[in-house]
Symmetry: C3
Subunit: 618 residues, 3 copies
Amino acid sequence: MHLGVCYYPEHWPEDRWPEDARLMRETGLTRVRIGEFAWSRIEPEPGVFDWGWLDRALDVLHGAGLGVIMGTPTATPPKWLSDRMPDMFALTRDGRPRGFGSRRHYCFSHQGYREEAARITRAVAERYGEHPGVAAWQTDNEYGCHDTVQSFSASARDAFRVWLERRYKSVQALNEAWGNVFWSMEYRSFGEIELPNLTVTEANPAHWLAFRRFSSGQVVSFNRAQVEILREHSPGRDITHNAMGFYTGYDHHDLAADLDVLGWDSYPLGFLEMFRFSEGEKRRYARQGHPDIAAFHHDLYRGCARGGRWSVLEQQPGPVNWARYNPAPLPGMVKLWTLEAFAHGAELVSYFRWRQFPKAQEQMHAGLLRPDGEPAPALSEAREASAELARLGDAGKAPKHAALIFSYDSEWMTQIQPQGEGRSALWAAFSCYSALRRLGLNVDIVAPGVSLDGYMLVIVPCLPIVTDALMDELAASDAQIVIGPRTGTRDDDFAIPDSLNHSALQELIGGKIVRSESLSDRLVMEGDGWETSGWLDHYEGSAKPEFVARSGEITGYHHGRVRLCCAWPQGRFLEALIQHAAVDAGFGSEPLPEGIRRRTRGTAVFEFDYNAGEVRLV
Amino acid sequence: MHLGVCYYPEHWPEDRWPEDARLMRETGLTRVRIGEFAWSRIEPEPGVFDWGWLDRALDVLHGAGLGVIMGTPTATPPKWLSDRMPDMFALTRDGRPRGFGSRRHYCFSHQGYREEAARITRAVAERYGEHPGVAAWQTDNEYGCHDTVQSFSASARDAFRVWLERRYKSVQALNEAWGNVFWSMEYRSFGEIELPNLTVTEANPAHWLAFRRFSSGQVVSFNRAQVEILREHSPGRDITHNAMGFYTGYDHHDLAADLDVLGWDSYPLGFLEMFRFSEGEKRRYARQGHPDIAAFHHDLYRGCARGGRWSVLEQQPGPVNWARYNPAPLPGMVKLWTLEAFAHGAELVSYFRWRQFPKAQEQMHAGLLRPDGEPAPALSEAREASAELARLGDAGKAPKHAALIFSYDSEWMTQIQPQGEGRSALWAAFSCYSALRRLGLNVDIVAPGVSLDGYMLVIVPCLPIVTDALMDELAASDAQIVIGPRTGTRDDDFAIPDSLNHSALQELIGGKIVRSESLSDRLVMEGDGWETSGWLDHYEGSAKPEFVARSGEITGYHHGRVRLCCAWPQGRFLEALIQHAAVDAGFGSEPLPEGIRRRTRGTAVFEFDYNAGEVRLV
Amino acid sequence: MHLGVCYYPEHWPEDRWPEDARLMRETGLTRVRIGEFAWSRIEPEPGVFDWGWLDRALDVLHGAGLGVIMGTPTATPPKWLSDRMPDMFALTRDGRPRGFGSRRHYCFSHQGYREEAARITRAVAERYGEHPGVAAWQTDNEYGCHDTVQSFSASARDAFRVWLERRYKSVQALNEAWGNVFWSMEYRSFGEIELPNLTVTEANPAHWLAFRRFSSGQVVSFNRAQVEILREHSPGRDITHNAMGFYTGYDHHDLAADLDVLGWDSYPLGFLEMFRFSEGEKRRYARQGHPDIAAFHHDLYRGCARGGRWSVLEQQPGPVNWARYNPAPLPGMVKLWTLEAFAHGAELVSYFRWRQFPKAQEQMHAGLLRPDGEPAPALSEAREASAELARLGDAGKAPKHAALIFSYDSEWMTQIQPQGEGRSALWAAFSCYSALRRLGLNVDIVAPGVSLDGYMLVIVPCLPIVTDALMDELAASDAQIVIGPRTGTRDDDFAIPDSLNHSALQELIGGKIVRSESLSDRLVMEGDGWETSGWLDHYEGSAKPEFVARSGEITGYHHGRVRLCCAWPQGRFLEALIQHAAVDAGFGSEPLPEGIRRRTRGTAVFEFDYNAGEVRLV
């Protein structure tokens, strides 16, 4: 595994570059990511390029023995460009343009901007495609950051209509699939269809799902255009992109299909503070991050990546600037996170960023160096991690334990139609993942339809649309299986199937879910040593009740090697249910101690202690 | 009392219709509401009508012995229509158009849409006005749903100016009535007056009150136009409309004056979750609804309805899709709700809806049948209710116990100027209603000025504008009277009277309120066995203190047969105050057990047990 | 000290004026503020003036012996004026115009409105500038009320560009100062720079700081234009303006530099409810106001005012209408507030308002008279205060104890970049002020650079930008000094200095802050008898740890006469830290009892008991 760092030569005097490069190498870093925000320096005036500084920066870094990951600068078009195309901005759901002054100020559907993005990509690729220092390319930066995938612009509307026509062929087919008769929402032509925002009350969920798919597809095709240019001008280099945490704005399986390596940006402390963790977790893990945050994404993105090649393109090295509160990691955490990425199979961990820039939006975001150029605490941890990795050498393959099925459209659907506030497929998956991890199991998070060979446990947390391929895999598998709420309850256009559930699923569970209630967390259903809330699926069929609440509700059924999770997958009920399945799968049911996590790879067993920020190798 | 159901033949294959109709009749249903969302099927292209399917549906239903309530489809104009009149949309308070893609996408003040609404109403009325199957008409659907009464469009502004000129005659009179001198807000002509939104800070409360009255009037005149067409083409049929719960966007007394029967849509579980009930009530009654929700509206709308004729046009049969959480009713609740409507005098209870449609916005909203056409739990309860009703036969007239005075402008005024956050006339009325109900009393909720003959108890919870007619009734009545905060403190244009309170009110209470404080619920005033908060009126006059808090505040006075409620009407203080008045009125002071409610009608005493979902007939 | 009242003759019949004036004088009032909202009466039609009524009002008041404070009516331009200049409105941050219908509907940068404001000011000044009854002038009313300083209009954008060009001379200098290279935000000309709103994610903090400074400057120059006209036409009269509470939208030091007297509007009960006090404080002090609210502003605005001349231009006399809840002051509070203003050195306390107007927006806002013209409770308290003041005579000068350094840009910077939610320089200052006050000390709140001669204690709560002048004063002073978080960590353009902290500060504290963490209040750091949270500065240098938390964090250092506050200045830790410094400065460390406050002036020691609303003179 490589260690690397994100570096912005344009922030610093040229005479500092050699010292920076030397110190990177001395720290044990071998990769450096540059260029992704430098458009205004590369092309300061329309059509006028200034390559000199970047040529020299590349030479310095390459000369010091660093492999460069070169970014395309399309996340930050300069002001002169948006002034030429004032309609290139995305529009908010409220209909307001999202203008210049920060970054990501473009609509993915704007043809003019697509041409400009291709033009600058081609210019950079032509210049550096064959440069020996260029080890890889990164396209753009954090697609979707600041909620930028969905745009409610005229460009998006026009492209959406084309997309719909391709998908449905006839508007009658669309009307029928969406049930537009419901409120006289029937269209006479694709040209009548608007974007689903600004409606009086909620739009048709099928309308939203189509728009989410379309929007995701726009990201994928935007990215693909860059990939094609890069492949043409820089053959043999890996192409990557940096995904984000707890982010589902586009389908990462689709995006990754065009990439060689899927990267992601790991900020465990910021994510803990900003996402839905309990107050207790936010207090307990404030300076470590919840112990499943990084691992969940490692395992998720490994499953998304073509060939399982993935990396951490940005690793938090200290306090960040963007969370509600921004504490510093405990001593040892940066090293722990680095080694945990290795345990999960990363090719690269790249710290963000080399040196804290004292100006602009991220002036309070730490780096490996302080703004004054002195070492920040993370520098020595990076050095230690590098030494440790050298000692560990090449770790073996991770044995298969549990597979967890996740699809991006499942999250879109539970966002569009939660039915009960906050009932999210992503967070159902995270809860299941945590429960598996607390049992010390390796987990692969995979797309529906991926081969389930070799897994002893398969969890389907919440998958409204099940594919035939998934059902075939589940039928063929001899794993213990857990099926969560809403699974198999929708067709591909968000309609409830005539048979209520997907027919192969009915076979698997020996019956069907005939009615669903969403419940507030006020209504607790409890049994011996467990309690749950949030949802209740009513089942009819031959499976046997396994979890019966004292108040009478049946929250879990058992049918051969299949378990049905009829309450929302959360809390002690979920843990108990997964323990039952794990025992039947031949695993132990004893959870690891609080704050301890394990990952097995080859003959090595890694244990990570999030209580004190220590990593032990067993 | 009839039982009925809402049915959408356009959702289902034509060959299923006879079976549906047969099963409706078998269940004991005799009414069926259709057509209210079917404009795009009735007129698929501008001016091109397709009557065939609706002719046949009507024939099938009529042939099976069902009386049809035909809806005018004006709540869901088709896309082609809004494309022809892009300015027909209402504008939000923020100034954004509320576009196509769901329903109710029209501004009540748009003349072009008014013409279109009249045109389609006339077309349907001409076609089916004399059809023997048509038992009644429903205009539009849920006026005001999704906050659609107020529109901040140019159409609304222009119509508002005309309305103001009619009301005030001269702009000088308006300036004087509103006190526009206050911040140099004086107008020189009606054409200078804008809508009250988008001001720097709050607009003049008199401006808002005028706009609320105007907006309500627009609904009433929109509805009246349809009523006139229907009366012309379908003489002898009842005309109704379905009002909503806890909804005060327009004056239901005014609307009902043009209708034969006032209907309403009863969703006790959704209302419990979405409105201001305590966490404890939301937990306790999650699957029953708070025991006063349905009854409050029965008694409110009976009081609004011309001749007291009212019905439940939509009755919740299972989980809905639109609340924060959507549990299923406990077994027995659908039957209980049905019989309770009977106990309060409904002509009809119509379940929403026959069969759950598996697509579009309400795909998670239950029906009497599941999406697969199998019976949902409510079907058998409807059947049982039908049998029970047959057994009960014709119940007698309900004896008069208590009258509760409510006006829509009182709620508008407390919304416009709560003075203390959340102090609402509607919820003050609901609290008083609950307190009366817990004593087992029959309650009539009536408009100010309605005859108070025969009542032994009259409550005026919060009525800023009192009419002379009301004051005459109160003076003439020998009932025990309770007067709540803010009552009689404003003239018809939202100004404080020169005498501070309405002069006849001063006579009634033997003095006047000279100062009001709004208090947070942090400041609790408590006495023996009671406590309250939220408001404190300071009284000067000859009434005697009846409730004195330990901290010295006087929260209640007694003056002959009149009691003054000087704190906000809520909590145990309100209960105690109303108990005092009830005892003086000759009623008992012993509350019914928790969750039990009673309604007396003729010789029958109905008791409803909301704890277990059972209904008992004593 | 004068007592006065705000009066609106235009609200009342002319024949009532003499009686009002007589009663004012009888109550002990000698000043009356009029005219500030009367534009529509002064100039009912464009260019047509009606001076008669105002001439007569002035004569009546003057004739009764009252000195008139005449307001310029520019806070309330009439409708005809905005109809002539529809682009005169400020735009919200969301880009919506803030239209007519309340007040303050103008953009400070609109040249057309500036001309109109000058025109009406000149007209009023020409008419009354030499009138013997006019004692003083008030410009406009509550600049910034309803969040009106920042406008996102085209006028503001154009003026901002000019302002930037003046400040930075070249756009390259601006790019460099702001670090615009960061996200390719580099501009090629000033004409490319937009306002910082409507960006995709947060704009550059340097961009926001510049806009806040610009916006503040627009208020100052708007005001200065009126001052110049008034000085020309009404020489020798004081010019004042009424500032608000907890309001930092513009730099009051800059505004006050153009005024003779700085006034402010004191509403202790409303401020308690609407600002960030704890639930416990809101309950305990609901009818008194927190005991430091009024005093903090007295001491702050005295420090802002040229020559230390200040007044209370509006004093709460009863319930107001604009807080979430609006209780009445306890008996005695109006008198207490009046005398406390005297103790802090006010020239005038003017009650708002004489008589409650029964109409329009503030109809629920109390006055000294009720709407019916009868005395409200505050009238007799004003009379008592007047008698008391006569008895007290001229109080001496207040001895210097503690100085607290505050700058408006510090609050702007912590709003722009709190780094940890809610970490505000203003509220840090308030907390420090409270801690000093609980020790019974006199506090002066002064701008950086003001002479610190004579102070024994100097607190710098949170001052990101320190000036050389301040550092010189601190170096020269022999006071005990406390330096709070973020102090000296930014240059004048929001960049972190190369040396991390201002170099003179490093000398003062014997080292530097090398890293900062923002922490949620969940993470409590506690020691013996203290606890704190919210922030942690990491210090390197020769100062000695003074406060070490049990969990190991060092929250306070001691270095000679300087103390470093490394946690957020709040709670019991702050009290302990300030007590240490106070003892070293020769003061006692024993806090006053709960709710008691003290102010020493000459030989008088005033004690104010906020527990019971009593004032004692020791």
